[in-house]
């Protein structure tokens, strides 16, 4: 009975979060400035493609994390479920679904429940503006290979990432536990601090990529620029790249910035009191944010779907689209590996170190980067 | 002549500056010799000026020497416009005419004798060089007063002599009385000066000039100006003259001024400075002559002062004070003469008075010097044995003062009384009173002079035997001036004028300058008779005085103390000082204190009240600032609603 009840409460949440991505994408697609010529069915197809890929990636990522950590620690890791442990995430999912849903006393039920959903939704929705390929010219149509082809794409990424912090903060607060509260607080402070560097480093990219001249903040334009010039922005803005990456680590609460959930200090931080599928959603959100973050970094700095030897003449039609998608996916996966690798390499920062790094190093450096980018654009360097 | 004139002013000033700057380096004697040399030179210059003027025709006996332009305002097209003058042009220059030269002669002449006397008198004083610097400055001021070519320069000298008097009286800084007396002298003089100033303002308005030379013809024209303005104008000058010449009611400073060194008293308060008032009257005599009833005021004031001061002198114990009041009294005679229109007679008395009063002062100085500062007549007596020469000289001076023929004072005083008698005889009854007062004063003068001489030199010695064992004669430098002055006191009168013999050189000399005296010739017999009467009265009064005091001193003292009330009134000098204090000084001081209270409480209080009102207003409005943010919000909203309602309606 308990199991059933759990399922019944968890399901709407999952359903909500799953629906979130298409809803957001559709909304954005409906906005007047974008070319709203794309019919609904096309949008739906794109939504499910992106959603599917992401939702496939997340369990794979969980497994990869465990395997990579094992590899780095000279042990085997999960290898019993399925070939080479490949079905392990599925087993975890099942386990989570059937665990008892605990809700502490004196907790506001709605917020307690909504918090993990917010975290997951925001992470997933970010994928809506990430172009996973160029423009597909088929049947007289040119289909941009992105769910919501809006000219404020970059801003949407930033907006969603800043909304995402509510999930953790509220989760911490709603748990009615001091560890959780502290985790929530840390999270909000951390997110605000690093969002600045994130945003300003991103500005540098927009400056060098000529977005301010065109007035469009589409990620696809950034990629287009890198593709046409053949030089990735990571080369133009090495400092910005590093800064953005570090900020992205902080935004996703990954080590070395995982203070909100730091086990030794806060037991589990904001998710101490969470169990079952609610916890699962936090889990999902974190990994989805990793995927989204990697995708954005790839788009901004590493050329997106662009591959040096795959010129636009080659990548035409369906095959071309698939090729671009593969390139993009490969880059994202590589970056995800980097994410995992870092987690098991670096120690955690102390809180004051975190703040010092964020305000006294990252912020000035990102301003420097912006200056560099400005010089870059103004003087017409490569 | 320009050079002579310039040197007459420049020498004393230069010497004052030189001695003043070097007063630490110079000994008293060096300074004195320098100063004396300068004064003697000045006297020589004055004589030169005199001979020069003598050489000119009678109607042209004047020289104007201009040095530089002092003040010139109002542009070239001067003169009076619509009854108000616009052009003010004043030069620094000298105006030499018989009147000014006469004054210059006796000022420098008597002055040089006093300077000579001072060398020895001040030899033991500290800061003697500074004293001589002041004396030189005084001489400069006096000469400027007399010789200045316009009224403003005269005023400069006028104030200058007052200032020097202030400095010389207060010469002994430590003495509280001296300092007080100096201040008093200056202030009472200043009261007079205001009259002088107002006179000048008015003169300029009427005549458009203040120069002596330019004014002279204009003053006669003032006759036509009406019955009010000329007398009032003359009276403003008269107020100034009263202050300087110590007439009622401004005379109180002069006796107090005796606090200064004795030569100063001789120079300033007998011979020169106090005669400045008479000089002014003479200088403006045409104006006064035109100012009908103003002259009467002068005459009555003079007579009253003479009588009043004579009465006070009767009971003074301080030898210098006796002389001081006699000076006031004699100045009264001079004013009486001027008031009767006989300006020349007044000038005559000025000159003789300068001789014998200087003699008396210097002689008393010799006595005081011999007695180491003792000035009380009751503690003297019998000094003729110790100081025979001084006694002899002083006796001559005293006879001259008492008006005993043939000494100098007799002729000048008799002439004044004669004029009064003549006017009375001619039908002006009020003149009988003036004549009577004059005669009475003459008797008083002889009496108190005899008292002074007798108490001082005759009878038994009442000296403190321990303090003054052997008084000795003054050194030659002090004796020589006494002797010269004695000769002058003896012969000065008869040499300058003997009315009965129609020998009047001074009168003729001054004729071109002064307003003519009323032409009332008495018969020769009457003249001689009056002279005899005056002589008899003087001799009689002298005899009574000498008799009274030469006998038993105790009896005389008892007599003096027998009428306690009168004695107190006389000894207390009619309480004039007290009346001044009660009527003017203290009320004024009270006004000042009142003004201070008023200023601090009312005026300043008003402004502080404005400040307090602002604070109170702030306190009242402060209630709105209750710190509750919601009430602020309410007020904002209330305002918004009101504005919106107004805008939308």
């Amino acid at each position: 009975m308990t199991m059933l009840a759990t399922l019944l409460t968890a399901t709407p949440l999952v359903a909500t979060s799953l629906a979130a991505t298409p809803l957001g994408g559709a909304l954005l697609a409906a906005t007047p400035p974008s070319d709203a010529t794309a019919p609904l069915w096309l949008t739906l197809i794109k939504v499910f493609t992106v959603f599917g890929i992401t939702m496939t990636l997340v369990p794979m990522l969980v497994l990869a994390e465990r395997r990579v950590s094992a590899w780095m620690q000279y042990r085997v890791g999960p290898n019993r479920v399925g070939p080479g442990g490949s079905l392990q995430p599925l087993a975890d999912l099942v386990k989570m679904l059937f665990k008892e849903e605990l809700r502490p006393d004196g907790v506001p039920p709605f917020i307690f429940t909504a918090a993990p959903a917010i975290a997951a939704i925001c992470a997933l929705s970010m994928m809506a503006v990430v172009p996973f390929g160029g423009t597909l010219e088929v049947g007289g149509r040119s289909i941009p290979m992105v769910v919501a082809d809006t000219d404020i794409g970059v801003l949407v990424v930033l907006a969603l990432s800043s909304i995402g912090v509510y999930g953790i903060t509220l989760g911490g607060w709603a748990s009615n536990s001091k560890y959780s509260l502290l985790g929530g607080l840390r999270s909000s402070a951390q997110m605000i601090s690093y969002e600045l560097s994130l945003g300003i480093s991103l500005l540098g990219v927009l400056v060098v990529s000529g977005n301010f001249e065109s007035g469009s903040f589409r990620l696809s334009d950034v990629i287009e620029y890198q593709a046409t010039t053949g030089i990735w922005n990571a080369l133009r803005l090495p400092l910005g790249f590093v800064l953005f990456t570090i900020a992205a680590f902080a935004e996703t609460n990954r080590l070395p910035f995982d203070l909100p959930e730091a086990e030794p200090e806060l037991v589990g931080g904001y998710h101490t009191e969470y169990s079952s599928m609610r916890f699962g959603l936090f889990f999902l959100g974190e990994y989805a944010a990793m995927v989204a973050g990697s995708s954005v970094i790839v788009c901004l700095f590493l050329g997106g779907w662009h591959c040096p030897w795959l010129t636009t003449e080659v990548t035409v039609g369906w095959t071309g689209a698939l090729l671009q998608m593969s390139v993009f996916l490969a880059k994202v996966l590589a970056f995800l590996f980097f994410f995992i690798h870092v987690r098991w390499t670096l120690p955690r920062l102390r809180y004051d170190q975190l703040m010092t790094l964020g305000w006294k190093w990252m912020l000035p450096l990102s301003l420097l980067n912006l200056l560099w980018a400005g010089a870059h654009a103004a003087l017409g360097w490569f | 002549m320009n050079l002579v004139a310039a040197l007459l002013l420049a020498l004393p000033l230069t010497m004052a500056a030189v001695i003043g700057l070097l007063h630490r380096r110079l000994t008293t004697k060096q300074a004195g010799v320098l100063a004396f040399a300068m004064t003697a030179t000045c006297f020589g210059l004055a004589v030169a000026a005199f001979t020069h003027l003598r050489g000119l025709p009678v109607d042209e006996r004047f020289v104007e020497a201009t040095f530089w332009r002092w003040i010139e305002l109002g542009g070239a097209d001067g003169g009076a416009v619509d009854g108000a003058a616009t052009r003010l042009a004043l030069d620094v220059g000298v105006w030499l005419d018989p009147l000014s030269v006469t004054w210059a002669l006796f000022v420098t002449g008597v002055g040089s004798l006093i300077f000579l006397y001072s060398i020895s008198y001040m030899a033991h004083e500290q800061g003697g060089a500074r004293y001589f610097a002041y004396l030189c400055l005084f001489l400069f001021s006096m000469l400027t007063l007399v010789l200045g070519s316009n009224l403003v320069l005269t005023f400069l000298g006028w104030e200058g002599v007052g200032l020097c008097s202030y400095l010389l009286i207060g010469f002994e800084y430590g003495k509280e009385t001296a300092a007080q007396a100096g201040r008093k002298a200056f202030l009472l003089n200043r009261i007079g000066d205001i009259g002088f100033l107002i006179g000048m303002f008015w003169t300029w308005k009427l005549f458009g000039t203040l120069g002596h030379g330019e004014m002279k013809p204009l003053m006669a024209g003032a006759l036509a100006a009406g019955a009010v303005i000329p007398p009032l104008l003359a009276l403003s000058y008269f107020v100034g003259a009263c202050g300087k010449s110590a007439q009622l009611p401004l005379f109180v400073w002069l006796p107090d001024a005796m606090a200064g060194p004795t030569p100063v008293s001789a120079l300033i308060h007998a011979a020169t400075m106090v005669t400045a008032g008479v000089y002014l009257l003479c200088r403006l005599s045409p104006l006064f002559a035109a100012a009908a009833w103003a002259l009467d005021v002068v005459a009555w004031t003079g007579a009253a002062t003479a009588l009043f001061a004579g009465l006070i002198a009767l009971r003074q114990r301080d030898i210098k004070r006796v002389l001081a009041y006699s000076t006031v009294s004699q100045l009264g005679y001079m004013f009486l003469a001027c008031g009767l229109g006989a300006f020349a007679s007044g000038a005559f008395h000025v000159v003789t008075h300068a001789f014998f009063k200087a003699l008396l002062f210097l002689g008393s100085g010799a006595v005081i010097h011999a007695l180491h500062g003792e000035q009380d007549l009751w503690k003297m007596g019998g000094l003729k044995h110790h100081l025979p020469k001084t006694a002899f000289a002083m006796r001559i001076g005293a006879f001259a003062l008492a008006g005993i023929a043939p000494f100098a004072g007799f002729f000048s005083k008799d002439e004044i009384l004669g004029v009064a008698f003549a006017q009375a005889y001619a039908g002006d009854r009020s003149r009988w009173v003036l004549w009577g007062m004059g005669v009475l004063t003459a008797a008083l003068t002889a009496f108190y002079t005899a008292r002074m001489i007798t108490l001082c030199f005759d009878g038994e010695s009442r000296l403190d035997p321990h303090a003054h064992a052997h008084p000795h004669e003054a050194p030659p430098a002090m004796a020589i001036p006494l002797q010269i002055l004695a000769v002058l006191s003896l012969a000065g009168g008869i040499a300058l004028g003997f009315e009965a013999l129609h020998w009047m050189p001074l009168h003729h000399w001054l004729e071109p300058v002064l307003a003519p005296a009323p032409d009332l010739q008495l018969s020769s017999a009457l003249t001689w008779g009056l002279m005899t009467l005056a002589f008899l009265i003087a001799v009689l009064a002298w005899r009574i005085g000498a008799k009274w005091y030469s006998g038993d001193f105790a009896a005389a003292r008892a007599a003096e103390l027998s009428l306690p009330r009168l004695a107190r009134v006389l000894a207390g000098r009619f309480f004039v000082d007290e009346i001044y204090g009660g009527l003017i000084v203290r009320p004024l001081r009270f006004c000042a204190e009142l003004a201070l209270e008023f200023d601090q409480r009312v005026v300043d209080g008003l402004f502080r009240g404005i400040g307090t009102a602002a604070v109170l207003l702030g306190t009242a409005v402060r209630i709105v600032q209750n710190g509750v943010i919601h009430s602020y919000a309410f007020w904002v909203l209330a305002g918004t609603v009101t504005l919106l309602a107004v805008a939308l309606s």
Partner: protein, 100 residues
Amino acid sequence: MVPQAWYLIVSALLFGLGIVGFVTRRNSLVMFMSVELMLNAANLVFVAGARDHFPARGTACALFVIAVAAAEVAVGLAMVLALFRLKKSVQADDVRELRA
């Protein structure tokens, strides 16, 4: 297109709600939030008013409002924090130090 008046009415309502919140609440944080509501209402007027003729300007003005609001919030919250340290309370009624 939706008439401007509709937006303006929504804005007025938002603004009114902000005022009501500001004047009826005692928690200074909530009062701040009410102020933010009012600012948002103002932004809405800017953008709605500018929509037909110069949309860019509406956005620019609204941007300024947002920047000012951010500054206001930063200082305001710092003040609330400082105040809380002194008073252990953020109730507006408890702070009456500026009473004259």
